[in-house]
């Protein structure tokens, strides 16, 4: 399906569609430079000499929402939990597939059940368990995310490990490797494509997750970016639209940077995750 009629027409058509697609984001960026009273009254006007406020909204937004701290905690949670999930679930998946006895099979079944369960089912009790175990902080959330997010990762990894010939494991064993060296030096490098897939899916989920940290973490001390944004809305009688616009733009910058840097992997990861999930 290579040739296309009216190629130029379609290029123009999609170019216009892209402009329309980016419009909501552009609108927020434009408004982030306007005084707060002008945002609600004339959202579609460009800033002019009277309405332009420079970076005021950004400064106020960072102060009111505690954005910088939230950024750090989002980063700590996302990076730490993703690393822990990758390590923990890849090891578990390999063990499950290779051992494949009754226990391993029922363990896999439990992980698959986790895939189906919506967060609302456990939100109240999970917050209680987290609190009881003293895990209501960003580092404790690493453990919680490993637990609640294990399903998808184990599912993708077991699917992948099943495709690795067992002769590879056996060859390593004959060469005198124990299970630990076999896994880390032989199996894990082979699993690289699935590791990238899972990493992408987890990062997209963890970075944007609102409800789990909101309920399970002590949010007086720790906020993530989505919590900081929501806090800006909830904390005051009337929303400071200027500060809100500034924070929305700031919240999008890391995401767009991440996208530009690793777009290829992201799209591959999404496709691989969907085919299997």
């Amino acid at each position: 399906m290579n040739e296309v009629k009216h190629g130029r027409f379609w290029t123009v058509f999609f170019a216009l569609l892209c402009v329309a697609y980016l419009f909501p984001i552009a609108l927020v960026v434009v408004n982030s430079f306007k005084g707060k009273v002008y945002i609600a009254s004339e959202p579609f006007a460009l800033p002019n000499a009277e309405t332009f406020v420079g970076l005021d909204n950004y400064v106020r937004g960072i102060e009111l929402s505690g954005f910088l701290e939230a950024f750090v905690w989002s980063l700590v949670i996302t990076v730490g939990a993703t690393a822990l999930i990758l390590l923990g679930t890849s090891m578990t998946a390999w063990w499950i597939v290779r051992v494949n006895n009754g226990f391993a099979k029922s363990l896999l079944g439990a992980f698959l059940l986790n895939l189906v369960v919506p967060f609302q089912m456990v939100m109240f009790t999970l917050a209680w368990v987290t609190d009881r175990l003293g895990l209501s902080n960003p580092f404790g959330l690493w453990v919680i995310y490993l637990g609640f997010g294990a399903g998808l990762a184990v599912f993708i990894f077991t699917g992948f490990v099943k495709g690795i010939p067992i002769e590879l494991d056996e060859a390593a064993l004959i060469d005198g490797c124990g299970p630990v060296r076999t896994f880390f030096q032989v199996i894990l490098p082979v699993m690289k494509p699935s590791l990238i897939t899972v990493a992408i899916l987890e990062v997209m989920w963890l970075w944007n997750d609102y409800l789990l940290p909101y309920l399970s973490m002590d949010i007086k001390k720790y906020k993530t970016i989505p919590i900081a944004v929501q806090y800006l809305k909830g904390g005051y009688g009337s929303v400071d639209m200027g500060a809100m616009m500034g924070v929305l733009v700031l919240a999008m910058i890391p995401v767009v940077a991440f996208y530009l840097l690793s777009q290829k992997h992201i799209i591959k990861g999404v496709v691989a995750g969907a085919v299997k999930g």
């Binding site: 006895n101 439990a110 992980f111 919506p118 009790t125 995310y145 637990g147 944007n208 991440f258 999404v270």
Partner: protein, 280 residues
Amino acid sequence: MRRSLIRWGWLFAGPTTLAFMIGFVVPFGLGIYLSFTKFTTVTRSTWVGVDNYVRLIGDQTFLHSLWYTSAFALVTSVIINVAAFAVAYMLVKAIRGSNLFRSVFFMPNLIGGIVLGYIWLLLLNGILAYWTRSITYSETYGFWGMVMLVCWQQIGYMMVIYIAGLQSIPEDILEAARVDGATGRQALFQVVIPLVMPAITVCTFLTLTSGFKMFDQNLALTNGAPSRLSELLALNIFNTFYGRPGFEGVGQAKAVIFLLIVAAIAFVQNRFASSRETAQ
């Protein structure tokens, strides 16, 4: 090999299983138990049998959010899939700028639901202001506002999956159809669509499930206003837990019903996928 590995279970499967107990198994079990009790905290609960389930049948906001969410999931699923397929179908052809267009359409997926909600709040309220209304004017406004937001967000995601599906169709099959004199439309409906059926199934279920689970966008865009009429299921459950003292048990029972709905969708998908495998 196998037997020696069993002994290493504590190292390979142990830590994840322990976290899984903490983060899922225990809260899940407690959640099911608590749905049959009246409770204010996990430790202060009294068994009331199916009382919570009886009470939720009489809960108007719940019944309303149930059909509101079903309609939302259905409508978004249809629009997203048709649009995503159409865009993917055009973009796999040699159109100048295809890669750039693809990147732009996918981008909103990386932005979180809360941020997306406030972006669209500005846009939609800005437009509606011309008629001196806002997104919380009625449940219909909120409904279509959320539909637009979610379409904008997810069309790119499904498009990427459809593109992969379309690109995996062997060129010679399409060539054969052309040689046999199939028109463009015949080739589309009788060759291309049947061949990308797996992608269509996956995408349909992905959009249906995410429609049912939608929370962040709902919270940011309408927060259920006016008078809880634009509450999707997840937000309705949240508000029952944290907004109505004495209704925690009912909230937990609602969550169990919610689970059953989502599980039923997953079950049907599974049947679909495996029946296709045996057919081939």
